[in-house]
């Protein structure tokens, strides 16, 4: 993609360069308080967590870890992980630097790569679930991400499950070169198999979903939801500004922007996401409900 990480450095309304993360507030008691990345309001950390990392004041949706997302979306203890040991290699021989970064991010996120896959129930409905985590190499897609997502869809096909894919990614992973680009074809092919089998595939775009991930499995859902304010798009904001030599309009490349332009079915607040996902999947898979 023309850019992978540029745009996240550009979001102006945010008060620091923390890429949309709520940062620990300064003293006193900094481990108890966080500062909203949207409006700067200091929040009691526990309340912030209880509110699903959404600012009570301005509604800014902060990034979640894959594990937090599973907890938010799935019925308690219903998630069982697939392919927890699939990791990337260094096919271009970028060297120890890249392998060390992978190792560090595995330790930091407790994930094998930038996506967590498995099966779970959502309000009792069994689904195949994929959750990307921006904290692992910016959610970038290399061979391991492509493999886990494709394998998840193949299992969904086998077990006749609806699939829910929650995205957060800057795009293809540069360090794995063309193998990364090919994950776009690989995952898209698997989506089409779900389509053909009549199994629902739902995408939930969270901040950010751009470039090679936006341009493959993230935009192929039967239903595409997005969280408020999530940055979505193909090219990075900085690349576009440099190409056209003009400033971008406010609200450009947000979830709301893409709903307006017809590429997102609905922008849904985090607190309503689980119920909405369940009801929509049930509408597609359970034609009659006992009333």
């Amino acid at each position: 993609m023309p850019s992978i990480f540029d745009k996240f450095r550009k979001q102006k309304p945010r008060i620091d360069s923390s890429e949309g993360e709520a940062v620990p507030a300064k003293a006193p008691a900094s481990d108890l308080w966080v500062k909203c990345a949207g409006c700067g309001t200091a929040m009691y950390k526990k309340n912030f967590q209880d509110n699903l990392k959404v600012c009570e004041k301005c509604g800014h949706h902060h990034k979640m870890t894959a594990q937090e997302r599973v907890e938010q979306m799935c019925d308690q203890n219903s998630f069982s992980e697939w392919d927890a040991d699939v990791i990337s290699m260094d096919p271009l021989e970028f060297g120890p630097e890249y392998l060390n970064k992978l190792q560090q991010d595995r330790a930091k996120t407790k994930l094998s790569d930038a996506v967590l896959t498995g099966s779970a129930t959502i309000e009792g409905l069994r689904v195949a679930l994929g959750v990307m985590d921006f904290h692992f190499r910016g959610g970038s897609m290399g061979s391991a991400v492509g493999e886990k997502i494709t394998a998840m869809m193949e299992k969904a096909l086998d077990q006749k499950l609806p699939t829910v894919m929650i995205t957060s990614s800057g795009g293809a992973r540069m360090q794995e070169g063309m193998l990364s680009l090919m994950q776009m074809a690989r995952t898209s092919a698997a989506v089409r198999r779900l389509n053909k089998a009549g199994l629902p595939y739902m995408c939930i775009l969270t901040d950010p979903t751009t470039a090679g991930v936006a341009a493959s499995f993230a935009s192929l859902g039967d239903i595409i939801l997005a969280e408020p304010g999530a940055i979505v798009g193909f090219s990075g904001a900085r690349v576009i500004e440099q190409t056209i030599r003009q400033k971008l309009p406010p609200g450009f490349q947000t979830a709301e922007f893409y709903q307006k332009h017809g590429f997102v079915d609905s922008v849904v607040k985090r607190a309503e996401l689980k119920r909405t996902t369940f009801e929509m999947l049930a509408l597609l898979t359970r034609p009659l409900e006992v009333v």
Binding site: M1, P2, S3, I4, F5, D6, D85, V86, I87, S88, M89, P91, L92, F94, R106, S143, A144, G146, E147, A172, M174, E176, G177, M178, L179, S180, L181, M182, Q183, M184, A185, R186, S188, A189, R192, A211, G212, A214, A215, S216, F217, A218, S219, L220, V232, F234, S235, G236, V239, I240, T243, I244, L248, P249, F252, Q253, F257, Y258, H261, F263
Partner: protein
């Protein structure tokens, strides 16, 4: 356009031409000329057998390198260009149409770069808008309906990064184009003829066979973009090019490219006729093999081909 790597060769060739002129005017220097011609041939050999990845990028972007419409003119008959996506506009960065290849009716689709500034402005430098991918999709579907094989030519620095392109869903246009190609029931041969720039290239490049001209390049990100992100310095593009593994040899080794089509010594732009011939022969062979396959078989093979593209391992956790 003069390539840095070709400069010594071009200088020598100029000198030879001068000496030939002198010879024509009555002073016999044919011995020297022959000597220099031999030297030029050797130089050509040594230059083109030691090309760096960055040299390849320059050759792939050469303005006199044959473009999609050149191949269409030289290798196809009865080409009828078809315009528009039926929704919004016609994108001049992507050309498409019906034609015959050695008598067989086919659909041809390709990125079209210009050879000069005027043409490049018209073609938007071969950078597709969403309409380009949607035109391709419309015609892919038609080709499938009439059982026509599809041939695509890849030559773009990438999909156009602009406000309107984003508004009209550049990412969706690419995604749906890729997805559609994975399930088409007709043969698809893709040839990377110049620059294969990321998603904008892949949007028309999900072939049953992906061929690459020897000096073309295909990359997940431009070397300039990669250098900016990795080292915050676009001038390190040369280093990035070497790292990205974007040459035909590298991609062939990784199993992402099925065949490398050899170019005449000096690159496609130095011997057009030979280049066209080489592309034609490869196309004949691959198309001939693919048309023998049953549609279901074709789709399954294509799925497995892309399914296998990835390098992963199972992590072995060592207990402490």
């Amino acid at each position: 356009m003069i390539l840095e790597v070709e400069k010594p060769l071009l200088e020598l060739e100029e000198k030879i031409a001068e000496l030939k002129k002198v010879t024509e005017n009555g002073v016999d220097l044919s011995g020297v000329v022959r000597q220099l011609e031999r030297k030029a041939e050797e130089l050509k050999h040594s230059i083109y057998s030691n090309l760096s990845a960055w040299d390849r990028v320059q050759i792939a972007r050469h303005d006199q390198r044959p473009k999609t419409l050149d191949y269409i003119r030289e290798l196809f008959t009865q080409f009828h260009e078809l315009h528009g996506d039926r929704h919004y506009a016609d994108d001049a960065a992507v050309v498409a149409g019906l034609a015959r290849f050695e008598g067989r009716a086919v659909l041809v689709v390709g990125h079209q770069k210009g050879k000069d500034t005027k043409e490049n402005l018209h073609r938007n430098f071969g950078m597709p808008a969403p309409e380009g991918f949607r035109k391709a999709q419309r015609l892919f579907t038609m080709a499938q309906r009439f059982k026509l094989p599809i041939i695509t030519f890849v030559d773009t620095s990438g999909a156009y990064p602009g406000i309107e392109a984003e508004e009209r869903g550049q990412y969706e246009a690419i995604a749906s184009s890729i997805a559609l190609m994975t399930e088409l029931t007709v043969p698809i041969v893709t040839i990377v003829i110049g620059e294969g720039g990321s998603g904008g290239a892949l949007g028309i490049a999900v072939g049953d066979r992906v061929l690459m001209l020897e000096h073309s390049v295909y990359s997940v990100i431009s070397p300039e973009g990669c250098a900016t992100i990795l080292w915050r310095d676009a001038s390190k593009a040369e280093q990035a090019a070497a790292t990205l593994g974007l040459t035909s040899e590298n991609l062939s080794k990784l199993g992402l490219v099925d065949e490398v089509i050899h170019e005449p010594l000096g690159g496609a732009h130095r011997d057009l006729a030979m280049t066209y011939k080489a592309v034609q022969l490869a196309l004949t062979r691959h198309l001939g093999e693919l048309v023998e396959l049953a549609p279901d078989d074709l789709v399954e093979k294509r799925y497995q081909k892309y399914r296998a593209m990835g390098r992963v391992q199972r992590e072995v956790k060592v207990s402490p």
